[in-house]
Amino acid sequence: MSRYVLHQNSTINIDARDYQILFLSSFLFLGIFTLGWDTDLLKYSLLIGSCLSLQYAARIIFDLKLSSLKSAMITSLGLCILVQASHWYWYLLIAFIAIGGKFILRYEGKHYINPANFGIIATILLTDQVWISPGQWGNLAILFFIIGCLGFIVTYKVNRLDLSIVFLMSFLILEFSYQVLYLQWPLDHLIQGFTNGGFLLFTFFMITDPVSTPAHKTMRKFWALGIAILAFIIKEFYYVPSAPFWALFYLAFTTPLLTYLFPAKIFLWKNTTQNITLKTNN
């Protein structure tokens, strides 16, 4: 009988991406089992499979670390949660654009687009056969709480909490001033929009991607403010559902300029790594 043996003093490296993978997959399960999303296994396996295999191919070409697959896993889970398409083959295109964009749109050795966001919006622009359902999350208070807490942990770990908070607060102030103070909607009209699961996911899990956000501390706060303002304009004056996603898509292209003007230390995943050493006596 074979026996599974742990190596003595073996080390498990856990970085912030592992938390993200854990949390994002829990949201996917939550969606399928409590919110009644379609259990479209083909979709999920296509997205995850193609993202991982593309990343694996890129790993061979660019000689990347094995742990870069974690990033692809996060992208694919984000896609599983957010995107819907009219045919299965569009999922392949989304994955291709998401992972491909990551290796083409680079500046100073790092990509400046958020892969999942770029994959979705670029495919919408190119094909019009893909869509985001902002309504699919509903407005459960408990969901609001869970996503908020878990998002807080992840953004704190990758040191991007400032970004989330600036975005959330400035968007809230803009929406409050316009909807409640100017248009005079009752307050619950405003709250409805902010308790949307998709919006929170965007706030804590999408714009906080540490690689594609500007590294300079002050600049990234202005950058988050810019996303909030653009999202507000797109939402209130162009009536586009899921406006924040569009805002991030456009503003991602300003990141190289910001990085050029305000250079700062590049983010490395390994800086978030916790070493957990298991002592075994076997």
């Binding site: 019009d128 409805q192 162009y238 559902p241």
Partner: protein, 476 residues
């Protein structure tokens, strides 16, 4: 720098994207203090690009002189943009897309190989009518108001005004003074609509015209608008108190299914076997099923009841069809202006059902058109047992499976509608009597039903957990 070159065309490209979707709905307000019972309101929305044609059903039951309608619209409508259409277009779309029953008849179990027996299928139609109460409130009226009449039309039996208002108090007073009652809960949205630069489309019945026309019922109003907004202003029509209102929305689009962007769009449960006795009570059955679903989702959702590609070239317009599918002239009457009857036109039909109240629905309904062309229908299956001789051994097996099936049907009924299956004992016991030697034991002790694989999987899982726990202990 090469990267910058890539960026610019993408930004330019994306600036040209067209915003998805948009439209409107109305609400009926009672004039004076008449208490009115309205059936579920119905709206047809045809939309492509920024153009929206919206048709509002009018099942106002009461004295026609008490009828009054107020709809916020995004622009001053021209006379050519307003017309009245025949009421039967609603009946047609409703009958076509209503939740449906499908019936199957079991073949004779004796002397027939079940695999070769064909199942006869027939269709029973039926739909649930829900009654909604709308209340009017008492308000005092006053003069001098900041309300301007931007246009005045007479269309069919209606007198129509397009109002522009500068402040909510003035508008409220104007409406009250002229006999339009806004529910108290809805007043809070007048300001937001005015500030969003909405105009108010108000309609009353011209009694003389109505007599001349000889129509006893009021016909639906259809208005055409151009706006990027794809929404239904339900807030203005919200009645007082906790009352729930039902609204059925039929949409016709070129692209595909319509879904709500600020509330969840949930599919109604479909395809389950249900006890045969619901056939005569289908209205109540569906009404309770909807209610249960609505309660499970805490009220906050929009329900998809039907979604089908009804393009002229698509031959299968329903499965099964409860009533004839809308033809191209029906689609035109429903507002789908792009349909002319040729084979390469696209029309997708969606039926959404929403039960709303002030507490759960703080925002107006906002929609988007998705490229999703998947067909969907709310369909419930009735399987009628074979009524002849079941004394042969195959027949006895059949009775056993039939009893199991009927137990499942009752479970389904209880789960989906909340009806107590205890009240329908004879639905099963009638067949237990047909078992010749009473061997049959009701209920099964095996929690996994008849699937042995589930048991094996369960045991394997448990074993692996136990083994891994033991191993971990040893490691320590």
């Amino acid at each position: 720098m090469n990267k910058i070159k890539i960026i610019i065309p993408i930004i330019l490209l994306s600036l040209f994207f067209v915003t998805d979707s948009f439209a409107f709905c109305g609400f009926y307000v009672a004039k004076a203090d008449a208490k009115i019972f309205n059936k579920a309101s119905q709206v047809i929305i045809a939309r492509d690009g920024n153009k929206t044609v919206i048709t509002m059903s009018n099942d106002f039951q009461g004295n026609v002189k008490d009828f009054a309608l107020v709809v916020p619209v995004p622009q001053v409508l021209q006379e050519k943009n307003i017309r009245v259409v025949d009421r039967n277009i609603f009946d047609k779309l409703d009958a076509y897309s209503a939740p449906r029953l499908v019936e199957y008849h079991d073949p004779a179990p004796c002397n027939i190989y079940p695999s070769t027996a064909k199942r006869k299928m027939s269709i029973a139609g039926g739909r649930a009518d829900m009654v909604v109460e709308m209340e009017a409130t008492k308000e005092e009226s006053d003069a001098d108001l900041g309300v301007t009449i931007q246009a005045k039309y007479n269309v069919g039996e209606y007198d129509i005004l397009i109002l522009n208002a500068t402040q909510s108090n003035g508008l409220k007073k104007w409406l009250t003074q002229n006999g339009y009652k806004i529910p108290r809960n809805a007043e809070e949205v007048l300001d937001p609509y005015i500030k969003s630069d909405m105009k108010f489309f108000v309609a009353k019945v011209n009694l003389k015209k109505q007599e001349q026309n000889g129509y006893t019922n009021l016909r639906p109003l259809q208005i055409t608008m151009n706006s990027p907004k794809f929404m239904l202003p339900i807030r203005l029509g919200m009645a007082n108190g906790k009352g729930n209102q039902d609204l059925i929305i039929y949409t016709l689009t070129k692209k595909g299914r319509v879904e709500c962007t600020n509330y969840r769009t949930i599919k109604m449960p479909t395809g389950m076997d249900m006890p045969t006795f619901i056939k005569n009570d289908f209205g109540n059955f569906y009404s309770d099923l909807f209610k249960k679903r609505w309660e499970r989702n805490r009220g906050k959702a929009v329900y998809l009841e039907y979604s089908w590609d009804i393009s002229p070239r698509n031959f299968v317009k329903c499965d099964p069809c409860v009533s004839p599918a809308p033809n191209f002239s029906d689609m035109q009457r429903a507002g789908a202006w792009w349909v002319e009857g040729s084979q390469n036109e696209n029309v997708h039909f969606t039926r959404l059902h929403v039960r709303y109240n002030r507490r759960k629905f703080s925002q107006d309904l906002v929609f988007q058109t998705t490229p999703n062309k998947t067909n969907f229908q709310a369909r419930y299956v009735l399987r009628h047992p074979y009524q002849g001789d079941v004394s042969c051994s195959q027949g006895q097996n059949y009775v056993h499976t039939l009893i199991d099936r009927r137990e499942k049907e009752l479970d389904n009924l209880e789960y989906y509608t909340g009806w107590d299956s205890y009240n329908y004992n004879n639905y099963i016991s009638d067949w237990e009597d047909k078992i010749e030697r009473k061997k049959y034991k009701k209920g099964s002790a095996n929690p996994f039903g008849e699937n042995p694989w589930a048991v094996i999987l369960f045991l394997l899982l448990n074993a692996s957990v136990v083994i891994s726990v033991l191993k971990l202990k040893r490691i320590k």
